[in-house]
Symmetry: C2
Subunit: 344 residues, 2 copies
């Protein structure tokens, strides 16, 4: 074994935090020794790892899943198996894997872990694999598990330009389901065109209440609304929904409680659900349901029906900028020593 | 036939309205001719009819069920069948019946109607029969249809002194289910004692946040919350609920939208339902489910496990006072020409 390989095998670079606080302050790049493999361990090389809003909240200490400190940041990412213990049966060198548990700590170059802590994913690009577990799966499950829209039917969502929102648009498009998309207007943006190009049927700015309401009179009422904004932005969704429908909330980007007028829900019998991918994965991880979902999403990624949202590639060293821009555009740590800033 | 009987048979007194507006202004006592019976008609004598908040809203024109005007007010009440057409098969003279449809117009002395418009109820007191269809049935169904509490389990509700709230307390008591009850504090009231005497396990004023929260730490978390207040009063219910639980909203006495913080619902997976008795009855009226419910409630009424809420008996002539006090205490029109004000 060459000296360089030996060094690579023994240490990993990792974005670590020892206390909670502002993410760009509490994170530091550490060099962690890699233990020898037990018979059921695998060594994985992290290829790419995302920064999700929940990672940010986890560093702040405001998220309900709190790893023991010091901890490595990051929950989502794709890795390649580079070495396996002698009793490992489920994985082979060269397999692409993602964490099987919450709080894995994906912002590192390598890890040694029991094979049960990771799971194999179907073949897809590195970036699609890195972004698989949270956003496309959230979109997929919300469209599958709550008042599932039929072909030709309509779904309405706010925050439609979010990573989940874009996945919703594309999955619906692929299934022949039509989408009404609400976004916040910024100066001179061309977001409407961008979402229409992705496959959105209609896009409204959140100020276009009247236009939305007029349009809704011309279509069969949606039976499903997806809400990631909360606050008063929930109300146009409730107004648009038809009888016996479902509103699923998966975020509160407005940082305000949902405002739910009784009359809007009771007479149309709207049920309000919350969706949390982490809970679903805890309950259904490694199930046939998950297997089918991963394969469906991989197929859509490989056919070009589902493309990643805009993102910025960064090296681990560039963590301050990654944290500072985490809510503006998706940040992805790429494990490449020669990595420099690259925007997609 | 005596002349007096003839007159009684030909006309009914009825509280009628020809336009929407303030109920005590738009109502008037009218004399309506009673048509001859067709073969499938029955003639019924209304014995007692309640004033519910939704009747009030219906007169104002703010309720989604709007009868063609002029219309007779009232949706709930109990009647006795006094005459039947020759082809009536489902009813006999002497049967006690309640309306089978919304918007029947119960604030009248008599009515001639197709037998399909009314349905027989089990034996129970006139007042229990008059109050059967809305409040005890709402309480019964919410306890039956959403995350049904087991014996020994806990339910939490606000507006616990309402007619539905009192029925919830008593039905739970009869089933060995325990209740946490939240009420608004008024000066010198003895409402806590009153509800404890009805069978409430715990009663808190809405200002007693800390006491409620401390108490909740000592019990298995409720899986069901019943909300009739809405606004910010929804929050203590969400806080008290355990994982995978249900909050059912059946009113908004605060006249404010529910305020639902995302973090409180998503991590505990709380689903928010609305309940509307009118819809249930439209879907399940005359079903085996309804039959069982009526019998269960009649049994509880007859055994004294379920007693009516405080109410005031009034003659039809006294409608102004009935309307003015409708939100303060339950008003019941009693069909007795000698009727004068009587408080229970």
């Amino acid at each position: 074994m060459k000296l360089t390989s030996l060094l690579l095998a023994r240490f990993a670079q990792a974005l670590t935090y020892s206390s909670h606080g502002p993410p760009s302050s509490v994170l530091y790049l550490d060099s962690l020794p890699l233990p020898d493999l037990t018979p059921t361990d695998v060594r994985i090389k992290i290829l790419a790892a995302t920064v999700n809003p929940s990672d940010y909240n986890q560093l702040e200490g405001t998220y309900p899943i709190k790893p023991t400190l010091p901890a490595v940041g990051g929950n989502e990412g794709v890795a390649e198996v580079v070495e396996i213990g002698e009793e490992v049966r489920g994985l082979n060198v060269g397999d692409r894997v993602i964490p099987a548990v919450a709080g894995f700590g994906t912002w590192r170059t390598q890890a040694v872990t029991d094979e049960s802590m990771v799971k194999r994913i179907p073949e897809m690009s590195t970036i699609s694999g890195a972004m698989l577990a949270v956003n496309p799966c959230t979109a997929y499950r919300m469209l599958e598990d709550f008042n599932k829209p039929e072909q030709g039917g309509w779904v309405i969502q706010n925050g439609a330009n979010s990573a989940v929102g874009r996945a919703v648009i594309q999955i619906c498009k692929a299934r022949g389901v039509r989408t009404i998309n609400i976004i916040r207007q910024k100066d001179n943006d061309d977001l409407k065109q961008e979402l229409l190009a992705l496959g959105a049927d209609k896009v409204f700015y959140d100020k276009e209440d009247k236009e939305l309401s007029s349009f809704c009179k011309t279509i069969p009422a949606p039976g499903l609304a997806l809400n990631m904004v909360s606050g008063r932005s929930t109300i146009p969704l409730l107004k648009a929904l038809g009888p016996d429908s479902a509103l699923v909330t998966y975020g509160a980007m407005s940082k305000l409680p949902m405002s739910i007028p009784f009359g809007l829900t009771v007479f149309k019998n709207i049920t309000l659900h919350s969706y949390w991918m982490t809970r679903w994965t805890k309950q259904h991880g490694r199930s046939e349901l998950e297997h089918t979902m991963f394969n469906d999403i991989a197929d859509m990624c490989n056919s070009g029906e589902l493309v990643p949202p805009p993102y910025v590639e960064r090296g681990l060293r560039d963590y301050s900028s990654a944290m500072e821009n985490a809510f503006r555009v998706k940040q992805v740590f790429i494990n490449d020593p020669k990595k420099f800033l690259k925007v997609h």
